[in-house]
Symmetry: C2
Subunit: 228 residues, 2 copies
């Protein structure tokens, strides 16, 4: 078994007897067993067990992967994976692996776009100006729409939870701290109202109660095909 041969292979898959030691943000040991070991050409590295989607051990792209004797050492910043190979049942170099990106629909961005395309459906008649990813000191708000008031909108693709309500609250608090500056920046009068909104296809009872208690509006928004 000349494992070092794989130093020259940009991507490979092994099925091997191995144990794995990781040290970095945390520290872990994977006991000796039969695992699927993958190196990708971007310098990412994975050790997969028999079950579950995520790898047991892994390192992100940009890692330095070096094989010496029967040990694969993977390093990235202050993290290290040491994989000791005791026996290799299968080893296949991977050539021509495609790097196509997946095209995806039903994302949060799609729901945000729906509100921007037709704000009157969700907020009533008016002339609206939209600001996506509007920055605050507590992070960017998905969508700020202005008409006679300022709508601060957090959009979710899944059912809205109480956690999401507090995410919005965080933005509203940050906004309130510098409200006059923000209103000026949005070309709105100093006295105009600020209305917090949560938008999404569904909302939990806990979150809905929190909305009622805190003057937050829930805006039901569906993905295009769900309407049909």
């Amino acid at each position: 078994m000349d494992l070092e041969y794989y130093n020259n292979i940009p991507a490979f898959v092994l099925f091997a007897v191995a144990d794995v030691h990781y040290d970095g943000r945390a520290s872990s040991i994977l006991e000796r067993g039969n695992y699927l070991i993958i190196k990708k050409e971007d310098g990412s590295f994975m050790v997969h067990g028999a079950c579950h989607v995520p790898a047991l051990n892994y390192m992100s792209s940009g890692s330095i992967i070096h094989i010496k004797g029967n040990i694969i050492t993977v390093t990235r910043r202050s993290e290290t994976i040491r994989t000791k190979i005791y026996n290799c049942y299968e080893g296949i170099p991977i050539l021509g692996w495609s790097d196509h990106k997946i095209k995806i629909r039903k994302t949060e961005a799609e729901l945000t776009a729906r509100i921007i395309d037709d704000p009157e459906t969700y907020l009533g008649p008016g002339i609206y100006t939209a600001h996506r990813e509007y920055p605050t000191l507590a992070g960017p708000v998905d969508l700020v729409l202005t008409s006679t008031v300022i709508y601060t909108i957090e959009v979710k693709r899944k059912r809205i939870s109480l956690k999401d309500s507090y995410q919005l609250q965080r933005y509203l608090d940050a906004f309130a701290k510098v409200a006059l500056v923000e209103k000026k920046h949005l070309n709105m009068p100093p006295g105009c109202e600020i209305v917090g909104c949560l938008a999404g296809p569904d909302i939990s009872i806990n979150a809905l109660n929190h909305c009622r208690e805190n003057g937050i509006r829930y805006l039901p928004v569906q993905f295009e095909e769900e309407v049909l």
Copy 2:
């Protein structure tokens, strides 16, 4: 190429020309290309591209995986992945794949245990009673410690962020709504103070400011070896 042969194989890896269509919580298309396709014996399924640790397409354990002709169909609840195989460069059945769990250190639970083992170090002299994962209407608090006051503690293994401060706030709000009931439940007098705490190895400036403004205590806690 008799792909249907793999219907009888509990786990396999293919490197193949394929395209992938997913529909379920979202909807996605992965264009034709060379991908690594993995089926595990727990019924999980992955399609890996040339880059990055996570799979491009995937389905959790318990999925129903069936091959007919050159199409692999994976189903789980209302989700489906349809993988069309145009050519298979490599196909290896995986036998004896180990299902060992990883043993991990430097988890949140470890930090929580450190506080429970020696609360006086973090909160000062006193006699403490600990409640892990104390339930509230907004979710469980990592740790509630009682002495003469009630400490409501959210523990983080990483640097504490403003988001974490609001997680604690959420618990404190829920606690406050039924404070008398909670105090009785904890055998504490009705008038006793409730102190929110964030515990962890580090805290962001934003989060620390939020603590100061809201009477929340930050408890520095390190992992054992970092102290050395």
